[in-house]
């Protein structure tokens, strides 16, 4: 058995994994939505999974409310939200605060691309 070699190989593999982690260290599972926000003169939207899953199981959004489970797959417009669709199914001053609190949703760094972010070891499906 080449037992003494194992740690060295694993160190190299770990180093490769560590180097592959990009710079943004936002909380695991954060999704940026910026298909329209930047063009509309607003900061990108940051959706925190960690915050919402403390309050709601996945099935509430991804089954009952019908959010597709793919970053960028939901064509969300601000008018939808005000009309009570997508985020507006809860952010309606009933289940949660309403659409008038622009900055709480539009809190991202200008120019961010849509997609899933998040540190602590991976940066979303297929990105190592």
């Amino acid at each position: 058995m080449a037992a003494p070699r194992v740690p060295r190989v694993s160190l190299i593999l770990l180093a490769v994994l560590a180097l592959a982690v990009p710079e943004a260290r936002s909380e695991y599972g954060d999704v940026v939505l910026n298909r329209y926000s930047g063009k509309g003169g607003m900061r990108p939207v940051v959706f925190p999974h960690w915050f919402h899953r403390v309050r709601f199981r996945c099935k509430v959004c991804h089954h009952e409310l019908g959010f597709e489970m793919r970053a960028g797959a939901n064509d969300v417009r601000m008018s939808d939200i005000i009309d009570g669709r997508f985020c507006g199914m809860c952010h309606n001053n009933d289940i949660a605060w309403g659409a008038e609190r622009c900055d709480l949703c539009h809190s991202g760094k200008p120019g961010l691309k849509s997609g899933i972010y998040g540190g602590h070891q991976t940066n979303g499906p297929g990105r190592w």
């Binding site: 943004a24 599972g29 199981r57 996945c58 099935k59 899933i116 070891q121 991976t122 297929g126």
Partner: protein, 185 residues
Amino acid sequence: MRLALALLLAICTVAAAQSGKPPPRFERNWDSLAKDGVHDPRSPAMRQLQEPREALSALPADSAGNQVRWVDALRDGSINPRSSLRPEAEVRLLETDIYMSRYGSVPAVRFPHREHTLWLDCSNCHEKLFKSKVGANEISMLRILQGEQCGQCHGAVAFPLTECARCHNTPRTPAKPRQAMESAR
């Protein structure tokens, strides 16, 4: 590629066995929102949004992902997220475990329906992601790493793919390559 994966898993298993006892201790560390590279530190929301540390440090500890053992957080009642908004919405649960052991080179995978259906609905996986028939799905680690199959959630929102042993959680038995069993727990 398959060989490389098997080797990596073997190494992870060896490393896990060596550091197995005493139970691994780790420091949990959350970046503040203003420094996380995604939020704009100049946004007026910075003073209003909750810091991850504030909410997550109280929950059962993990070393990866959100650094929270979400399955345990549900089980021990430290959180009780809503299952539906409308009272009439149907909440479906299933208790069967699926054992996946097509490969002699890696420990078998026990897929628990229970822990998944506590969070998810059947439609999140069936029939698009997985057919609901034992052995009907050709699951491969390569596709998982590319964000398909189990990797749609693991590596994005559920615990990340670096946690090999949490899926490859069952020492190999000479059973059938796929098997469904009533959850023993």
